[in-house]
């Protein structure tokens, strides 16, 4: 029996997972339109490569990855591009972003695609295929998987597969593991191959016995060596990558350190599944399993095309009339959607229909009484009450000194706070202020540098002009003398004056 490790803190919110696991994953119908964001991943926004009015096929690339940290975006079904414009997206800001709107033709016609020769394709080629297929982490971070499937020359001993799914209400990974365990494991084998990892540990919270059983059976049936499905104690946030790595291996990955440096890499089970579909079948990431739950008649998991408007999806599950808002993600970390019409993105693991009856409004917040329940539950072992004081007072330097950026924003502190203070919002506020300031500082430094260079240039030009003038005058004078005396020696002097005019090379410029 493997010894499991503990992480500090954690909470036990009511899970509400039974509601959406009664029926198998259903195929969601093709919606009336798809609103596909071009910013489905962290990093650079993809560039649209289709025109309005163009017919696209299912799986056709419509957004080209830009820059190193980026990923491709594809049409989820066949149809016509009707708009490429700014639309509301699933983002906490509630601001619009560039989206491609496709009206499906109902034929669901695939573009020509085929799987790779997995045995003989070099790893770099496979990684490139992942990037082209738009495979990103489906656990919520949406980090491009091709970048993560690269060990960066570190020796990877353990590949951790994250099936913990610790957030309440969400069951999409649970159902995926129950129904598609074999494909997940095949994906895990590919990732193990890409990372040259030794063992594969699959962490699953012990409130999902069916999923654990299915995965164990699939490991046996598939004769997977050095691969283990491990039940971990149910405790939010055990599904945080750092927390799960800690539970399974005992390794603590500090902030600012890549887990690969410590020999571990972590993927979500749904990502492993997408990796398998992308490489073995050549299918880009155009759909995912989404839990639809909350204030609906029949909470259920659906296989949903990326870009499906949330209201059309929730309608499938029988939206109740008093639903007045939607959350994407779980109730601990999810974001309030700015509109019901935003499209499902790759990060959408769950849609919760909300009503005041089901989720009563939080009582007004009181001042912090320093009870330190937040510190007791913080999985990053921070002192949230101190961070709160600093963020509130906008003492950002102090906040950083108290490890603000180690915060994983899991919300455990806010959940237990008896004063009902939205602690995490203070931290996200402080983090984004600090980042913005660092950016401003960089800009100011660059402006200073450019200004100083300009002053130097102006000065130099002035000097050059003056020198030229002086040289001209001198030359004129000498010319006069020459013509007077017809002397030969004056010529050499004019030549000697010339080097002063030469422009100094840029490399010698002051660069402060």
């Amino acid at each position: 029996m493997r010894t499991l490790h503990k992480f500090h803190g954690g909470v036990h919110p009511p899970t509400h997972k039974a509601e959406s696991t009664r029926t198998p994953i259903a195929q969601a119908a093709i919606p009336s339109k798809l609103v596909i964001s071009l910013h489905q991943h962290v990093g650079g926004r993809a560039k649209p490569i289709v025109q309005v009015g163009e017919r696209v096929l299912k799986g056709q690339k419509i957004g080209l990855s830009q820059g190193r940290q980026s990923s491709g975006v594809h049409a989820s079904t066949s149809g016509t591009v009707t708009a490429i414009d700014m639309q509301l997206v699933a983002h906490p800001s509630g601001l619009p972003d560039l989206c491609i709107t496709i009206v499906p033709d109902g034929k669901d016609e695939w573009i020509e695609h085929s799987g790779a020769d997995l045995k003989n394709t070099p790893h770099s080629e496979l990684r490139h295929k992942l990037r082209k297929a738009g495979v990103v982490g489906l656990g919520g971070a949406v980090f491009p998987s091709d970048l993560k499937a690269d060990a960066h020359r570190h020796k990877i001993t353990t590949l951790v597969l994250n099936g913990a799914e610790c957030e309440p209400y969400i069951t999409c990974d649970d159902m995926l593991m129950r129904e598609r365990a074999a494909d997940i494991l095949s994906g895990a084998e590919l990732l193990r191959e890409l990372l040259q990892a030794e063992e594969v540990l699959i962490g699953i919270e012990d409130n999902k016995p069916e999923a654990i059983a299915a995965m164990k059976r699939a490991i046996q049936d598939g004769r997977h060596e050095r691969m283990e499905a491990i039940p971990v104690p149910t405790m939010y946030p055990s599904g945080g990558a750092k927390q799960l790595i800690r539970i399974l291996t005992g390794i603590e990955v500090a902030h600012g350190v890549r887990s690969t440096e410590m020999g571990v890499q972590c993927f979500n089970v749904a990502t492993a599944y997408s990796v398998w579909r992308a490489l073995a079948h050549g299918e880009p990431l155009i759909s995912r399993v989404v839990t639809v739950t909350g204030n609906v008649e029949r909470a259920q998991n659906y296989e949903v095309l990326i870009g499906t408007p949330v209201n059309e999806l929730v309608a499938l599950a029988g939206n109740k009339p008093d639903t007045d808002r939607y959350i994407m993600g779980g109730p601990m970390m999810g974001v309030n959607l700015p509109a019901a019409t935003v499209g499902v993105i790759k990060a959408t693991n769950c849609i919760i229909a909300m009503s005041d009856a089901l989720f009563p409004p939080a009582p007004p917040a009181l001042p912090c009484i320093r009870c330190t329940r937040c510190a007791d539950v913080c999985p990053a072992e921070l002192q949230p009450q101190e961070l709160y004081w600093f963020a509130k007072a906008k003492e950002f330097g102090k906040a950083q000194q108290y490890h603000l950026f180690d915060c994983i924003e899991c919300g455990a502190c806010s959940y237990v706070c008896p004063s009902h203070i939205p602690l995490v919002q203070y931290y996200t506020f402080a983090k984004s202020e600090i980042r913005a300031r660092a950016e401003e500082k960089r800009n100011a430094d660059r402006a200073r540098e450019r200004h100083e260079f300009r002053e130097y240039r102006v000065e130099r030009e002035k000097q050059e002009k003056a020198e030229k003038l002086a040289a001209k005058e001198k030359a004129a004078k000498e010319q006069a003398i020459k013509t007077q005396l017809a002397s030969e020696s004056a010529l050499t002097e004019t030549g000697a004056a010339r080097p002063l005019e030469t422009v100094q090379p840029e490399a010698a410029l002051p660069k402060e």
Partner: protein, 344 residues
Amino acid sequence: MSAFFAPFLNKPDSVSQIMFKVLLALIPGIALYVWYFGPAILVSITLASITALATEAAMLKLRDRPIAPFLKDNSALLTAWLLALSIPPLAPWWMVVVGTAFAISVSKHLYGGLGNNPFNPAMIGYAVLIISFPVHMTHWITPHGLGQVELSFIDQLGYIFGGALPPNVTLDAVTMATPLDTLKTHLHLDEHVNQILDMPIYGRLAGQGSEMVAWGFLLGGLYLLASRIISWHIPVAYLGTLLLTSGIFHLADPAHYVTPLFHWFSGAAMIGAFFILTDPVTSPTTQKGKLIFAAMAGLITYLIRAFGGFPDGIAFATLLMNICVPLIDAWTQPPVFGNKETKP
């Protein structure tokens, strides 16, 4: 629209519930208090509660803050109860009112209200009273069966509100000094501990009656520990240090220094360890910090009791250590996840 911020789930706890549970935990001690000393304490608790709520409301109004949510948080009530329990039950009504009003207005609201006060308000109230009215603060009710005369409840009310005792009853006949005070006085007279403890006001462990009240607070404290409202650090470190220091002195000179158990069960040691020092607002937030804070408070308590001029040392030990809290917190920041080896 509501619940703008994740987590969207119902919060399992609230300040008002926590404070309510602390009040609840005081009940066993209060019940025993009434049993051994009569119902006068209930009068001062009621008086202090009314004063606290009225002062709280007035201060909130003056500070232009919403009144209802803060009155409902039960924190003013807790201050009132703790203060009422630490002053003599027969204290005149105006003393209770002055002490409570000072505690709430000056030591709580002038520092920013709930959560912002550096000093324990109840202890500030106590300190103000003991410095301003030292004589009144030494007249404690004699427990049942010990005094020559016993005042009826009506008589007690008469004294608290009117300052008048029944004819031919003197104040000294119905009150006495606390066991700790008596001990100190008699030690000054060069009497031995054994002799002193034979006096009728002492019971099995400490003062007759008051030792039982301490048991009541211990019981309530254990409930607080069990319901995770307080952590073990402060009570254990406080009582431990008190035990250690008093134990050393007792072993060295049993004739002049009483046993550690006497210290545990007399004065405000139990209520201090579980209810006063553990006030989250005025105690450190880190575990190490709590240990240091409580240990130092225990040491100061013992020093004041054994060598100081005041009968008990909890209030001043608490206030002195309250000053150090920010420093202790800053010095005892624990390492964060993933940084355990590299940083202290």
